[in-house]
Every structure is written in structure tokens, then in C-alpha cells.
């Protein structure tokens, strides 16, 4: 979607709840997210890279919806207009010794 990054969002005005943590994994607050939008971070990918929200152990499963709501409100758009950040493996955090160990014989897998 074409986006001119220089539209005026007005001044940053502190709001109730700005101290509240939104991304629990990375401890990012509502105020930080709102400020980032005023700093020009207009996409979920940029917000994520700028603040790390959604980059923690849960990979945004809990907060991405909340973050999108805050960003959309700040930009004056609907959350659905924000493309979600991309999804990448691993779907669940995995120890590198486990991922490094590529077995081929699945007969050794423990069966329930």
C-alpha cells in the first residue's frame, strides 16, 4: 500500500495508560508504541524492529493485536489496514541443540 510518510499526525500528546506494558515479553509500553508512530514507524514491521515488541518468546501471539490497535488509532486507520508482521519458523522457541539434531529414522520417536 502506498504511503506518504510525511503526513501530519499532530503533536504527541501523552495519554492515560501510556505507562502500561503492552508487549509483556519485551516490556514495551503503550507510550513507547505511540511515540514510535510519531517517529515515523507506520508499519507493524517497523514498530517491531524499532521497539522489539512482538519479538520475544511468544513472537507477538499475545500483543500483536493490541499493538495493531494502538498503532492504527494513532494513524487514524482501522487495524485491518495494517499488514501484520511476517511469520517465521520456529513456531515455538526451540533449543539449538534440538534443531541441530536432524534425525531421519522416526521409528525412534516416543509413541504415546
Amino acid at each position: 500500500m502506498r504511503q506518504d510518510r510525511n503526513r501530519d499526525l499532530g503533536p504527541f500528546v501523552p495519554r492515560e495508560g501510556d505507562e502500561r506494558i503492552i508487549c509483556r515479553c519485551e516490556e514495551v509500553t503503550q507510550g513507547e508504541i505511540r511515540r514510535a508512530v510519531h517517529d515515523g514507524m507506520y508499519t507493524m514491521a517497523e514498530i517491531r524492529r524499532y521497539l522489539r515488541c512482538g519479538m520475544g518468546l511468544c513472537q507477538g501471539q499475545t500483543c500483536s493485536r493490541l499493538v495493531a490497535g494502538i498503532v492504527a488509532r494513532e494513524l487514524g486507520i482501522k487495524p485491518a489496514e495494517l499488514a501484520p508482521a511476517s511469520s517465521r519458523s520456529p513456531m515455538r522457541p526451540i533449543e539449538m541443540k534440538v534443531w541441530a539434531d536432524e534425525e531421519t529414522d522416526d521409528s525412534k520417536v516416543r509413541r504415546a
Binding site: 503492552i22 509483556r24 501484520p84 511469520s87 515455538r92 534443531w99 516416543r110
Partner: protein, 539 residues
């Protein structure tokens, strides 16, 4: 690389159903699930399901789970548990983290060895379900604030009571059902709160919570959770039509637990990772894959079913799963088109049946003023969780008769009809339209067997004898709490709103296998409370 005809990710209701249909048609099917137990959310659903026979109505969720597992085993489906899918890669390759059998001589090792395995499927069905949404308020990260589904897992899978005094936020079916289950687990539910002006879930689910005395606060939401290292209290306040707090409406409750039931988000990351076209409009509860009616995504051979393709009930997820399983079998040549079409159409019809009535997907967010029969919907039910005494008589299931007779306080058009099959004397009729309100047939003879009471997933049927001796009436009500009252217990009859309306005495307690753990408690009340007393508490 190990290859399967079909790999299914997620052993919940939709995944298992798909596996069964595919395996029945001769496919080599494997199902991976990250949990130690199969069944997804089914095994924590201890309530009876709605629907008709084909939807497994009046059967409790966990029993349906057992049935599905049995069916899957019989069909030759391989189910791998504690098997976490790490990624869904190009060429329909699935990478799975699995636990290995300990090698000989390593029995003393404390942790099992794990490794990753690569599998390819000619088709993949993603049935990964959904996760709970959260709302934020001051203190929302305090221990003691949890998803309602998490509370349900604690109670029903692990036997752990989540807390003692609980406030529930969210009046959808999850919030209502879990509130009831919290009460069953012995918690006190201090309030059921929703920012919306009307209750979102089924009225019957709300009514069975309300009659135990739980107050409903609509157009209210949480202002803050209190406590330093865990929740010790909560303050709610009323909101206006733009969901802004109204000054001076704050209410405080001492609680140790706050449950949040504000919807689910599809866990669709694997589909996105696989390059499936996604729909971010929010209509399915979050980001969902674009699918056709068989669950086929934009990537040939990759399907999505159940909540991951749009949030719905477990009942519809099971049918969607079957539909995808049938089409996948056809896609890979394990069934011909005619055979697949017949089976598919049958399931599609069943699915349509579930998507009828006031809560049909098309009615989401709409305020329905009248039932299909043209009866005004109870305003009190929508705002307080129970039908008011002066509203109840307008519904066709509520009639007066000499002797014992069913009173069906079923006031919304939902797709559900076990009651009409339950009555051996055919006293109850819903008719061919599954969402119609039940009526008591004239000239039918109730034999007080109680089958209708126990069959109603909404616990909305009572057997009433308005003239049980001089000035007395009896009310037989469904009762799913332990310990059961005993014959002779004295106490109070509670009204639909949960307030004590009269003295009551237990005259009969019935529980039998046929009732499937819904006990029937008959109380004797003053005659004028025959149509008012709907619950019992011991003095």
C-alpha cells in the same frame, strides 16, 4: 524423507475429524500435536454440546473427544503427541520436534532427548486452532489475571482451581461457560462483566449462571486490577456508547483472580509461513487464510480447518474437518468425485444447520428484536442474564398444566433439538426447523422421567407441578454441582436472578447414567413460586 499422503497439524476437533475421513478412504494419515494429550480444546469442555444428533448434541465435549479418538484409531490414523511443528516449508514439508525413546542404558537421564524430523505430505491440513485475546488495563500483567480458557485448562485438565474469588470479563459463550465451570469448581464468581451493552453468548448459558446469584454488569469494563505481586482486587466502571469510562460509576470487588474472555485469535502463522494468501479484515477473529468451502487455501494441497480458518464452535470445526478430509481424499484420488460429493453435501447440510438462528455468523453484532416466532426477545436476558418473571410467560415452552409438566425456558433461536428426541412420550416438539423454540404438545402425558431436563445443554428445562398438595408446588431442576443436595435438605428457592425468593425443601434427588451427570433435584416450594424458583441453595 518420510512421506505421508496427508499430514495434519493439530489433533483438535477439526484435525481429528479430517484425519478420520481421509484415513477411512485409504489414505496414510499422520496427525501432529504439540500437546501431551490429543483433542485440542475438547477435553476441557465438560458441558453438553448444542445441536442435533448429527452434531453430537447433549454429549459432553470431552466424551466427543474420546469418541473422535476411538474413531481415528479405528480408521488407522497415526497421532503423534508432544510433537511440535516448527515450520511449514515449501514443497509441503513439515519439520517437527519430537521426543525420542530413551536408548538402552540411558534410563537414568533426567530429560528425554529430542530431535527434529522432516516429513512431506502430498497434502497438508493445518488445524492449529486459536489463542486467547487479551485486553489491557492497569495491572493486567499481575499474576491472577488469566485467560478464561487458561482457567478452564487449569480446572478441567489439571484439577487445579484457578483462584477463590473470580471476576469474569466477557459475556460470550466462553465467558459464560467458564463462569459456570468456575462455580462448579467451587470458586465464587463475584461478577460477570462486559463492555458491550448486551450479553454476547447464548441466553441459556447466561441464565444458568445468573440463577446461582452471579451479578451481570453490562456496559462495564475493568478499570484496574489491584495488588502488588498478585491480584487482590479489581475495579470496574460503566462505559458509555463510545466505550469511555463514566466518572463516578466505579465498583470495587475483592478478588484473587480475573478471567478474561474477550475472544480468540486464529493461530495462522504456519499458513502464512507457507505462503498462503491471508485475509486480514478481521472477520474470522484475526488473520485467517483465504479458503474455499473445503478449506483449500491458495497453495494447492494445503488446507485449513477449524478455528485457524475463522473462529467458530467446536461443533462446526468437526464438520469442517470432515469436509476437508473428504475433499483431500478426492484431490489425491482416494475417492471419486461422486462419492466425495455425496459425503461432502451431507456434511455441508449439517454445517448449515449449525449456522442458523440468532447467533448465525451473519447476525454477529446485530441486535435481534424478535424470535423467529415473532416473540419479543427478553431485554432483561440480554442485559442482566435472566428472563424476568413478567417476560417468561410469552415463550411457547412455558405453559401451565395439571400435574407434572415440562417448562422450557428456551427463549432464543439456537440450533439445538435434543429435547424433542429425549421425551419418550413425545411431549416436546421443535419441528423440522432446528432453531425453533420448543413447544409442549397438547394432550401429551408427561411421566416425570426427567429425560428432557437432563438432555437440555442449556439447562433450561424444568419439570413443574403447580399443584403438589395444598399450597405447594414442586420444581425439578437440573443440578451439576457437588455435593448433591439430599432428600429432606431445607433451604431456599432462588429466582432466575439468583435472589432468595422462598423457602424450599428437597423432596427428591435423581441421578442416573441416562442423565449423564446432570442430577435432577426436585424442590418443594410455596405454590406461588412454581414459576419463579429455579435454583436451590441449602440453608
Amino acid at each position: 524423507m518420510k512421506r505421508y499422503d496427508l499430514i495434519i497439524i493439530g489433533a483438535g476437533p477439526s484435525g481429528l475429524s479430517a484425519a478420520i475421513e481421509a484415513a477411512k478412504r485409504g489414505m496414510k494419515v499422520i496427525v501432529f500435536d504439540e500437546n501431551a494429550r490429543p483433542g485440542g480444546q475438547l477435553f476441557k469442555q465438560i458441558h453438553k454440546f448444542f445441536g442435533s444428533k448429527e452434531h453430537k448434541a447433549k454429549i459432553r465435549g470431552f466424551v466427543i473427544g474420546r469418541q473422535l479418538l476411538g474413531e481415528a484409531e479405528k480408521a488407522g490414523v497415526e497421532v503423534r503427541l508432544s510433537a511440535t511443528v516448527i515450520g511449514l516449508y515449501p514443497d509441503k514439508e513439515v519439520v517437527v520436534r519430537e521426543i525420542l525413546e530413551p536408548e538402552e542404558g540411558t534410563a537414568g537421564e533426567t530429560s528425554a532427548k529430542e530431535a527434529v524430523f522432516h516429513y512431506k505430505g502430498d497434502a497438508i491440513i493445518v488445524a492449529t486452532g486459536a489463542s486467547e485475546n487479551m485486553v489491557t488495563f492497569d495491572g493486567w500483567t499481575l499474576p491472577g489475571v488469566m485467560g478464561a480458557g487458561a482457567a478452564q485448562t487449569l480446572m478441567n485438565l489439571h484439577g487445579v482451581r484457578p483462584g477463590r474469588k473470580v471476576l469474569m470479563l466477557g459475556s460470550g459463550n466462553v465467558g459464560l461457560v467458564v463462569s459456570f465451570q468456575l462455580l462448579q469448581a467451587g470458586c465464587e464468581v463475584v461478577a460477570l462483566v462486559d463492555a458491550a451493552p448486551r450479553i454476547g453468548g447464548y441466553g441459556v448459558h447466561a441464565a444458568k449462571v445468573a440463577r446461582t446469584g452471579v451479578p451481570f454488569y453490562l456496559s462495564h469494563t475493568i478499570k484496574k486490577a489491584e495488588g502488588t505481586d498478585h491480584v487482590t482486587g479489581v475495579t470496574i466502571a460503566q462505559v458509555d456508547s463510545r466505550f469511555q469510562f463514566i466518572e463516578g460509576t466505579e465498583k470495587h470487588f475483592d478478588v484473587d483472580t480475573i478471567c478474561v474472555a474477550v475472544g480468540l485469535s486464529p493461530m495462522s502463522q504456519l499458513l502464512k509461513m507457507a505462503g498462503c494468501e491471508m485475509d486480514n479484515s478481521g472477520k474470522g477473529g484475526g488473520q485467517i487464510p483465504v479458503v474455499d468451502e473445503s478449506g483449500a487455501t491458495s497453495v494447492p494441497g494445503i488446507y485449513a480447518v477449524g478455528d485457524v480458518a475463522g473462529i467458530e464452535e467446536a461443533s462446526s470445526a468437526m464438520i469442517e474437518g470432515r469436509m476437508a478430509g473428504i475433499r483431500v481424499a478426492e484431490y489425491l484420488g482416494f475417492d471419486d468425485k461422486a462419492g466425495a460429493d455425496t459425503a461432502f453435501d451431507q456434511n455441508e447440510k449439517a454445517l448449515e444447520g449449525l449456522r442458523q438462528g440468532m447467533f448465525a455468523p451473519g447476525n454477529r453484532g446485530k441486535k435481534i428484536e424478535k424470535t423467529e416466532e415473532g416473540i419479543p426477545v427478553s431485554e432483561n436476558l440480554l442485559t442482566h442474564g435472566f428472563v424476568a418473571d413478567d417476560e417468561i410467560e410469552r415463550y411457547p415452552g412455558v405453559t401451565h398444566k395439571a400435574g407434572v409438566h415440562p417448562v422450557m425456558e428456551c427463549t432464543q433461536n439456537i440450533p439445538c433439538n435434543p429435547c424433542q428426541d429425549a421425551c419418550p412420550k413425545h411431549c416436546i416438539s421443535i419441528g423440522s426447523n432446528i432453531t425453533s423454540l420448543p413447544v409442549v404438545l397438547k394432550d401429551s402425558a408427561c411421566i416425570d422421567c426427567g429425560m428432557c431436563v437432563s438432555s437440555c445443554p442449556g439447562q433450561a428445562i424444568f419439570l413443574v407441578n403447580e399443584d403438589a398438595g395444598p399450597g405447594k408446588a414442586t420444581v425439578t431442576l437440573p443440578y451439576e454441582f457437588l455435593p448433591l443436595p439430599e432428600e429432606g435438605d431445607e433451604g431456599y428457592g432462588l429466582g432466575r436472578d439468583g435472589s432468595r425468593v422462598c423457602d424450599a425443601k428437597v423432596v427428591r434427588v435423581r441421578s442416573s447414567g441416562a442423565f449423564d451427570h446432570t442430577a435432577l433435584v426436585t424442590i418443594e416450594v410455596p405454590a406461588e413460586y412454581a414459576m419463579k424458583a429455579r435454583f436451590f441453595v441449602k440453608a
